[in-house]
Symmetry: C2
Subunit: 244 residues, 2 copies
DNA sequence: CGCGGTATTGAAACGCATCAAAACCCGTGG
DNA sequence: CCACGGGTTTTGATGCGTTTCAATACCGCG
């Protein structure tokens, strides 16, 4: 019946959870893993494209993303969520949607707060996650503000590759990246057509390809150059200030 | 000797601090205000344009902003900091700079962590701040991704006005907003010239003015329209999906 | 009065959006 | 097995918003 990848079931116990080493509860020592169960209020499996309405959860398998609609019917992708990420719906109108078939653990906010109140390390882990989110948004803001289309695409691909790499979901040559070009475009403030052209250029130059849900990095150095600033010369701030 | 606004001295005691109601320590009850002193490692006064190297501080008076340089010598403003804001330098190369003459309380990270470990409410206050930062960045990301120049300027002015309003630093008609056009431009991914043209248009249409460090809102409704999406018709997502 | 930083204005060039259409891919059903 | 259909990717042509470059005007201050 499922014409799609099967929905990965979750492990019964948090102790065996494959993503916990990268997730909010990574700081909980083995001896107290049992307490996590009291914070979990359930699990859920969703299909690609479905909206997710749970207000806090940690993604176990699959990708998701947060986005907002603009009054003229376009959308802005705010962030991509990978396995192990804690996702928290914010009060503002942002939506969370499964990008692939996905499964996750729903958390109970009040019980999570209790736990964090008793365990400062957990509170710090939570804060670290927020800080990482913020750092990522700052980078992406810089992308949209100051990079051209090719640089934005290159930068986002490198960001995703790095995040996957850190949690063992990629090797140096590439990774499973199930994004459509429309996701890229909506995350980077580009039209789908232009995102396509940027990808086409990268492919033609043998730098990287994104195809059938897989990212291949053919020339990492060139990709990093592209994500840096392609601009000419690059004298550096000081030199530029002193020049003239 | 100072050709600039005087550097506002800080109050001796946190109990009397004018910005504490809006700051990290707002949650500390009067009876325990004394404990805050142990977290403060000093105060500092800086002039407009000076870089700030302290890693965590709460701004007491004046504005600051965080920014990164791009290899080609431009800059991206990541966030503006207002009195009461907790500012934390991140590991990435972002700089923090005083936008006006400013004064702030420097905090000791380890002692702050201790305090948060003992006081879950304080930890929550910290997390709230991070969450607000993130929400603001998301909004700005949406701006850069999907709004045109006029919309970006309008949106940022409204954001700043709202933040100032909430802490009693503005009235409905306007506020002190010491930004140069270059700050606006660098925050919004625009050239200075174009930011100027956007402001000029707003002025000509009697919507708002930004002049000599003061923002005047002449027609809030029009300003909000401009910050929404100026696009035509605005059928709404559903209507648009169903159309055709 | 003159200077440096800031704001303003104009003209030309460019990157990206938009519109339109074709190619492609894959699952579905005849 | 092949034709069909919807979603996605690709390609091309045209227009607009913004950048860039170049001057000029402005303003507070020494």
């Amino acid at each position: 019946m499922s014409r799609n990848a099967s929905l990965t079931p979750l492990p019964g116990s948090c102790a065996a959870c494959a993503v916990r080493p990268f997730a909010l509860f990574r700081v909980v020592p083995q001896a107290r893993v049992g307490e996590i169960a009291r914070v979990r209020s359930g699990v859920r499996l969703v299909r690609a494209g479905e909206a997710i309405h749970d207000s806090i959860f940690t993604l176990y398998a699959g990708w998701a993303f947060s986005w907002t609609a603009t009054p003229d019917g376009r959308r802005q992708v705010l962030d991509f969520h990978l396995p192990g990420d804690l996702v928290e719906r914010s009060e503002d109108g942002a939506e969370v949607e499964a990008l692939t078939d996905a499964s996750f653990c729903i958390l109970a906010r009040d019980r999570l707060c209790d736990f964090m109140g008793r365990d400062p390390g957990l509170a710090m882990s939570y804060a670290e996650g927020l800080t990482r989110d913020r750092a990522r948004l700052r980078e992406r803001l810089t992308s949209l503000g100051r990079r051209d289309a090719a640089g934005r695409v290159a930068h986002l691909l490198l960001e995703l590759h790095g995040r996957l790499m850190r949690r063992g979901g990629a090797d140096a040559r590439g990774a499973a990246v199930p994004l459509k070009q429309a996701h890229l475009a909506d995350a980077l403030g580009l039209s789908v057509e232009h995102a396509n052209r940027a990808l086409a250029a990268m492919r033609k130059d043998g730098i990287a390809t994104l195809n059938k849900g897989r990212l291949e990095i053919l020339d990492r150095e060139a990709l990093e150059d592209m994500a840096g600033w392609s601009g000419p010369a690059q004298p550096g701030v000081l030199a530029r200030t002193l020049a003239v």
